[in-house]
């Protein structure tokens, strides 16, 4: 494989309701990510974005966001109706072709424009689940209940995950929700959708993020300590929730293996677990050693911009390599209900 690295990452502050439109949000992060890499816009080899028209409520909404990139003279561009982590995967594949050295990846999402619960119902199977209006919190609660019934975890474990992430978010200036309450106090709160309490669920967030990828010598020229992609893979499970064991994430296990996650210890892992029980499932699937720092950013419980939060996990993991905190980091992204699809990207510093 051609060596490709993340050389730059930028994100907006995540908020419940932004006053910016998509192009304005994207402009902020694209400009910041390119400036950090000192890469002029006209030197971007390939551009790939992740977003959803269902969030914006408008067709081809990614085209409007291209105003932030400057698509003239005509550029090489692609888009995925997926979290931006999958746009990064496409850009990584594109750089493997060998004819281009740099790629810009960005993602944006404004969940504030519609009713997010109603919008996310539309990602479900249209015959059996969508007509029931199975909302994401209800499905996550079902998954959480299955986890409790398995007997290996308790509601206190959920609360510990929430307390830890919200506490770590206190040092993340982009976070939307921070907190200092211990797990014991969180357990006094009422249920939102039993066995989930409000703190087990993610906030509704608006925001954007951008990443610059570069190959080989170009990466070293753009960044003092690039976060090299040691492996990247994504896997999907059956669409029918009833066909899955919701307490396990075999797609994450497989993606981690394919992404060489177990070759050497991981110093930092950023896990995209919008609901606290999902972090427990992911930790088990990834078999991370106790020495791994999980979600120093506060994860998706601190901010969960749909279509963006997975790319932010990859960006945060890369940033820990770039800033020297980690020698080897793992970024995980998920998409769909109950951890339907999972992507694992392993990043490392190289001499």
């Amino acid at each position: 494989m051609r060596p490709v690295a993340i050389v730059s990452f930028a994100q907006t502050p995540f908020v419940r309701r932004t006053r910016l439109n998509d192009a304005e949000l994207v402009m902020e992060v694209v400009t910041a990510a390119l400036e950090r890499a000192r890469l002029p816009r006209h030197e971007i080899g390939f551009c790939c974005s992740g977003s959803s028209d269902f969030l914006t409520g408008a067709p081809f909404s990614f085209v409007g966001a291209l105003d932030a990139v400057g698509a003239w003279p005509p550029i090489q561009e692609s888009h995925v109706e997926m979290d931006g982590a999958w746009a990064l995967y496409e850009a990584w594949v594109r750089l493997q072709h060998g004819d281009l050295d740099t790629a810009l990846v960005y993602a944006f999402g404004r969940s504030s424009l519609g009713d997010l619960q109603d919008v996310l119902v539309q990602q479900l199977d249209p015959y059996y689940l969508a007509p029931l209006g199975a909302d994401p919190i209800g499905l996550a609660a079902l998954q959480a209940r299955a986890l409790l019934d398995g007997g290996e975890f308790t509601e206190r474990d959920f609360a510990e995950v929430a307390a830890q992430n919200r506490a770590r978010a206190q040092s993340n200036r982009h976070a939307q929700v921070r907190g200092s309450r211990p797990a014991g106090a969180l357990l006094d709160e009422p249920y939102l959708a039993a066995p989930l309490r409000k703190h087990d669920c993610p906030p509704i967030s608006d925001g954007a993020a951008a990443i610059v990828l570069a190959a080989g010598d170009r990466a070293r020229a753009l960044c003092e300590r690039p976060a090299w992609i040691a492996g990247i893979d994504h896997r999907i499970e059956p669409h029918a929730l009833g066909a899955r064991d919701l307490t396990r994430s075999p797609s994450t296990e497989r993606a981690a293996r394919e992404a060489n996650a177990h070759e050497r210890p991981i110093d930092v892992a950023e896990l995209h677990a919008p609901f606290s029980p999902q972090e427990l499932i992911l930790r088990r699937a990834l078999a991370l050693p106790g020495s791994t720092a999980i979600n120093p950013s506060g994860g998706a419980l601190a901010a969960n911009p749909i279509m963006v939060a997975g790319l932010v996990r990859l960006g945060e993991a890369a940033a820990r390599v770039i800033d020297g905190v980690a020698a080897r980091a793992l970024g995980h992204a998920t998409s769909g209900p109950c951890l339907q699809q999972n992507l694992v990207c392993v990043l490392e510093a190289r001499p």
Binding site: R17, T18, R19, L20, N21, D22, A23, E24, M27, V30, T31, R41, F54, T56, G57, G64, L66, D67, A68, V69, G70, A71, W72, R110, S112, L113, G114, D115, D118, V119, Q122, P126, A130, P131
Partner: protein, 160 residues
């Protein structure tokens, strides 16, 4: 199979509240005050209208606001002979690409109060405002002949 289910009804309704963003919000508020605003690109110096907060060709933020004339030049047009929406219009009417004085991008709008056979490239037209002021492009009801000599082709040939 005679009992095959060929379809079922599953109504979906999603409601959205549009958030136009900073630049478009200023543009729309301007229309409610009968002002047409564009934004100048700091790189190529072109004035984009309607403003989008970014120059779509240079990909840089645009901040400098420019008030544009309500008079402009028809760069191209078409004649419409069928009724498209509930808002009844006198048929036939013209839909035109109009380069407002001071702008570098064209605006699509309607031309009325002019026999369609007289509409032509280079024709000078003026906005007719609606009595009711609102933050919407339909605050401009349509454009009509400005009564000025036609603009020379060279002045708008880059904007067809």
């Amino acid at each position: 199979m005679s009992d095959a289910i060929k379809g079922f009804t599953a109504p979906v309704r999603l409601a959205y509240t549009v958030n136009a963003g900073r630049a478009a919000s200023r543009f729309l508020r301007g229309l409610a005050e009968r002002r047409i605003l564009g934004q100048r690109c700091p790189v190529c110096k072109k004035v984009n209208m309607p403003p989008r907060g970014a120059c779509p060709t240079c990909g840089v933020p645009t901040e400098e606001e420019v008030q544009l004339s309500e008079v402009g030049t028809v760069t191209t047009f078409c004649i419409i002979n069928i009724q498209f929406d509930a808002q009844a219009r006198e048929l036939p009417y013209a839909c035109a690409s109009i380069l407002l004085d001071g702008a570098d991008t064209t605006l699509f709008h309607l031309i009325q109060e002019v026999p369609v056979a007289e509409i032509r490239m280079g024709m000078r037209v003026r906005a007719v405002w609606d009595d009711e002021r609102r933050p919407s492009l339909d605050s401009i009801r349509h454009f009509r002949a400005a009564g000025e000599p036609d603009a020379p082709y060279d002045s708008y040939k880059e904007h067809l």
